[in-house]
């Protein structure tokens, strides 16, 4: 798969206005900007969690949303993995249960569990398989959330500041794992962050958002170098 996610969105919510148009090819696109700039709203609209007022969202020739054509595919049929800032791990399920949740339901329980354990192992949290989220330490929850997102064989991955509460070391290690998965999956990733180091570690390209619009795009190194010093 090497399809491009194209996004055109207009959202009005009270005084807040979001107006963006961009394309995300396979690889990691960073959506960067201060809080309140509309990054999370953009992700939610792509996933179908909120309905934009106008716009179009498509992956290759597959149209998910088109206001003019009255196309609005339900969230669960878009197959887009979403990693929430709060992680949103199901508190009543073990790590294996969380990871298996999005898997092909025609597979047997054993097959699902086997695959869940493989994914947990790849994110180095196999030891959590039978434990519930309330017992995870910092970083472990993030890893389980990533494993869960990739278990559904997504055709796009959206990450809403999943590493915001991490220290430098954990962040670097999680970024490395995420990069490896992105190149393996070969689908568009959109990663929201307002953390410069994270943006530079992860991003193939960067979109700079402010006040609901895109103000710049380019390589993370170029865009973030100037104000880095």
């Amino acid at each position: 798969m090497s399809e491009i996610l194209s996004v055109t969105l207009a959202v009005r919510h009270g005084a807040f206005r979001l107006d963006v148009a961009f394309e995300a090819p396979p690889g990691i696109t960073i959506l960067f900007g201060p809080s309140g700039s509309g990054k999370s709203t953009t992700l939610a609209a792509i996933a179908g969690l909120i309905k934009p007022d106008r716009g179009r969202v498509s992956l290759g020739s597959d149209v998910w949303f088109d206001e003019a054509e009255r196309i609005d595919r339900p969230v669960h049929l878009r197959r887009v993995a979403f990693v929430f800032q709060s992680l949103a791990l199901f508190p009543h399920m073990s790590a294996a249960g969380n990871v298996a949740y999005g898997m092909d339901r025609t597979a047997t329980r054993d097959a699902q569990r086997k695959r869940a354990l493989e994914l947990l192992d790849r994110f180095r949290v196999a030891h959590l398989a039978d434990r519930r989220p309330s017992t995870y330490s910092g970083g472990e929850g993030q890893r389980v959330a990533l494993a869960r997102a990739f278990a559904m064989a997504p055709c796009a991955v959206l990450l809403d500041e999943p590493f915001s509460a991490m220290d430098r070391e954990l962040r670097q290690s999680l970024c490395a794992d995420l990069r490896a998965s992105a190149s393996e999956l070969g689908v568009p990733f959109i990663h929201v962050t307002h953390h410069r180091q994270e943006a530079r570690l992860l991003g193939d390209r960067l979109l700079f958002m402010d006040s609901g619009t895109l103000v710049a795009h380019g390589s993370p190194d170029e865009l973030l170098r100037v104000s880095d010093g």
């Binding site: 339900p74 969230v75 669960h76 929430f84 199901f90 508190p91 949740y101 999005g102 309330s134």
Partner: protein, 217 residues
């Protein structure tokens, strides 16, 4: 049946009835926006604040032997709704219903919407997300709601008297039997039943409090 076992029977059946109807309405409120929402909310809450006589009056009009529902029921089952055990069940369920709806809805709404959203992005249909994420996470609250409803149903007096009468062995529940015992100056009987009802209510409330205590995360 003795007043006490009749009470337990009526309360159990009416709680089940209120659970089915009430949880369906609670789910509707917790997950959907629909026209007339505010009005329906008021209507289903009315039984909490209206005099039992008024509720009883409406039920008699609605379910009485000359009403459409009453005649249909009698045609099918051969017995009337009012002044029978069925009437006692309906009377108790009417009081229990708002409790199921209010508390059930609160329990369902308390579930973090991001968890439901996460389930949806993972490919779950709205129905599957409800059954596998929202409902299990609201389970304690819902069980607490049903227990409260049971306690309420167990203690109904006014509506039952209006709709089901006070027929010993048939519709005379414990709370009605206490009233009878007092009138007939059978103080011991009244006291025994009062103590039993108090104990049951206390046990139910204690369990409800335990169930709804904030869980440590």
């Amino acid at each position: 049946m003795s007043p006490l076992s009749l009470s337990l029977f009526v309360a159990t059946v009416s709680t089940l009835l209120a659970a089915v109807v009430g949880l369906a309405i609670a789910t509707l409120f917790a997950t959907r926006r629909f026209p007339g929402r505010a009005l329906v909310d008021v209507l289903v809450t009315l039984p909490m604040v209206m005099p039992p006589t008024v509720l009883g009056y409406y039920l008699l009009v609605l379910l009485g032997r000359r009403s459409v529902i009453g005649r249909a029921f009698e045609f099918v089952t051969g017995s009337s709704i009012v002044f029978t055990r069925t009437g006692a069940v309906v009377a108790a369920a009417i009081g229990a219903l708002p409790i199921v709806i209010k508390s059930g809805r609160a329990a369902l709404e308390e579930v973090d919407p991001r968890l439901v959203a996460a389930a949806r992005t993972l490919g779950a249909s709205p129905w599957r997300a409800f059954l596998t994420v929202r409902l299990p996470l609201a389970a304690r609250g819902i069980i607490a709601a049903l227990m409260l409803a049971f306690a309420r149903a167990l203690g109904d007096f006014g509506v039952t008297l209006m709709v089901a009468g006070n027929i010993p062995g048939e519709t005379q529940t414990a709370s009605l039997a206490i009233f009878d015992a007092m009138l007939a100056q059978r103080d011991r009987d009244a006291l025994t039943l009062a103590i039993v009802l108090t104990l049951v209510a206390t046990a139910v409330l204690y369990t409800v409090n335990k169930l709804t205590e904030r869980r440590r995360t």
